[in-house]
């Protein structure tokens, strides 16, 4: 990290150089911390404190009525390990992540390659791909809910054209999670597309020219030249996609409420249910710790692995 100093670097040589340097350093400390203070207070109150408090509260029972919270050690975690719904939610979330992340990244690359070419209607295509990004997930969920409605939703109407029977897309354990995955991919791919598009525009056209002269096939060119050059973008998008896979549950709340039979419950949604439906805040804290652990792993991966391998700028 190259942090250049503003105030203390301006020490002029002279007989009082040391004294002024100390004064300047003192001033830099005071000014720096005063400028940071308002943001630091709010960050500490709503990010750092709650993260630590989650751990602390996960060792306590939930206060009920006139019974105050008492220390119960690892009991909440014991409960969690024996809670089948927790395992279902965790498994669902992993499936959700494993499906949405690669799907939206592959589609994003494909979209970016298309709208980077001189294709007919390029502007309209870009607009079509990006627009879902601007919609609230709640609105998106409402629209897709109608899409999936048995019998007279668009999906079943299309099935009807082929003589297939109606299907309860969101009501069936086999399809409900995949319906949510489709919605998420639809919403995210266009957002990731713009990062790939920007990266593609940085790639020199000379490379394609040279490849064409050499007679390199399109797929080979993509695999050997374009894709490696897009790697920093892919990793950036990957980190964001992973975080989103564990952070975004708006569509679960609107479309399925975790059902049928917890088939679409994701970790954060389950935390929301434990905390604000059953008001079991102690147990909710323990499950939140799992979510925080997942995010901590992502953070470590980025800080210790990626930042060493990729040189931004």
């Amino acid at each position: 990290m190259h942090r250049t100093s503003g105030v203390d670097a301006r020490v002029k040589p002279g007989h009082d150089g040391w004294g002024r340097s100390l004064v300047n350093q003192f001033r830099a400390n005071i000014h720096g911390w005063l400028l940071l203070l308002p943001a630091a207070v709010l960050l500490a109150a709503f990010t750092h404190y709650p993260a630590v408090a989650t751990l602390w509260h996960s060792f306590f029972s939930t206060p009920k009525g006139n019974r105050p919270a008492r220390f119960i050690g690892l009991d909440q975690y014991q409960t969690m390990l024996e809670d089948p719904i927790f395992w279902i939610a965790l498994k669902n979330n992993l499936v959700f992540a494993a499906a949405t992340i690669p799907l939206s990244i592959v589609l994003a690359i494909l979209m970016a390659l298309w709208v980077n070419e001189k294709i007919v209607g390029r502007g309209l295509l870009r607009l079509a791909f990006f627009t879902p990004t601007m919609l609230p997930m709640i609105a998106v969920a409402n629209i897709w809910l109608f899409f999936y409605t048995p019998d007279y939703g668009l999906l079943d109407q299309i099935r009807g054209l082929f003589g297939l029977p109606a299907w309860n897309w969101l009501g069936s354990r086999d399809t409900a999670l995949w319906c949510l995955i489709a919605v998420t991919v639809w919403k995210e791919a266009g957002f990731f597309m713009i990062f790939y598009l920007a990266a593609l525009q940085q790639i020199s056209p000379d490379l394609a020219e040279a490849a064409a002269i050499e007679g390199t096939g399109r797929w080979t060119f993509f695999r050997r030249v374009t894709f490696p050059l897009l790697m920093p973008t892919t990793l950036f998008v990957l980190i964001n996609a992973v975080i989103n896979a564990f952070r975004l549950v708006d569509h679960v709340v609107v479309m399925t409420r975790g059902g049928p039979d917890n088939a679409t419950s994701l970790l954060l949604f389950y935390i929301y249910e434990i905390g604000f439906k059953f008001w079991d805040l102690g147990y909710a804290a323990a499950v939140t710790m799992v979510l925080l652990a997942v995010l901590a792993i992502v953070a470590c991966f980025q800080f210790f692995y990626l930042d060493r391998r990729i040189h931004y700028q």
Binding site: W114, M137, G275
Partner: protein, 275 residues
Amino acid sequence: MTGLGRPSPLGAALNTLAAWLLGILWVLPLVYAVWTAFHPAEFSTRFVPTAPLTLQNFEAAWAAAPFPRYFLNSFLLVTGILAGQLVLCTLAAYAFARFKFRGSAIAFALVLLQLMIMPDVLIVENYRTMHALNLVDTVTAMALPYVASAFGIFLLRQAFKSVPKELEEAARIEGCGTLGILWRVYVPLARPVYVAYALVSISYHWNNFLWPLIVTNSVDTRPLTVGLAVFASTDQGIDWSIITAATLLAAGPLLVAFLIFQRQFVQSFLRAGIR
């Protein structure tokens, strides 16, 4: 064309066709929603080109729930958060960009932590805090966890670091204090970054749902997203045309702004994303 090599004419045609198929697939849900919202209920799933257009669904939705109030709440929430973010992030970013103070490296790492562990996942403990502060069901409670934004601090710090030192020296010689320099030199030079950050922040918070859902429980504080969810779920009997119209109402302001200022929005997301 840079991403792939040169295609054959047939390949190019297939390529265009595939791109258009995906494009159509991508707008289909939205087109479907617009169709349903602007046609009478009996045409909501019958796609007859001669179906009469109507605004009645919008009128019905507007009358069925306190949408004006929800709009006001969303507006207050988004502007409140943005105003707070601009002030706090500017100050903090200036500290990180231009002051070599004790503990700045650790402080910066602690700030960046919020990029991973966002308030979105700390709902349980933040609810406890809001409850203890007696702030549940206020716009303040919805806004507070997001005001000190690590993302904003990071973005502005980068911008401030690229400002030439000489400008600061000149302002200092003219008698500007620390805040004077920030206001007269750094803030004006970082204007494009402010615009980018503002657009990203507005889109994020206009669309945010889970935390507002948890921390509000009355019409007087609910933002549009929560209002829409309550509207669509409590009135099960209501028909899809009206729900879809309400959905478009809620998404409308941002969508229209995006369609008008497409380039600025996309540029902003890019600027904000590439660190």
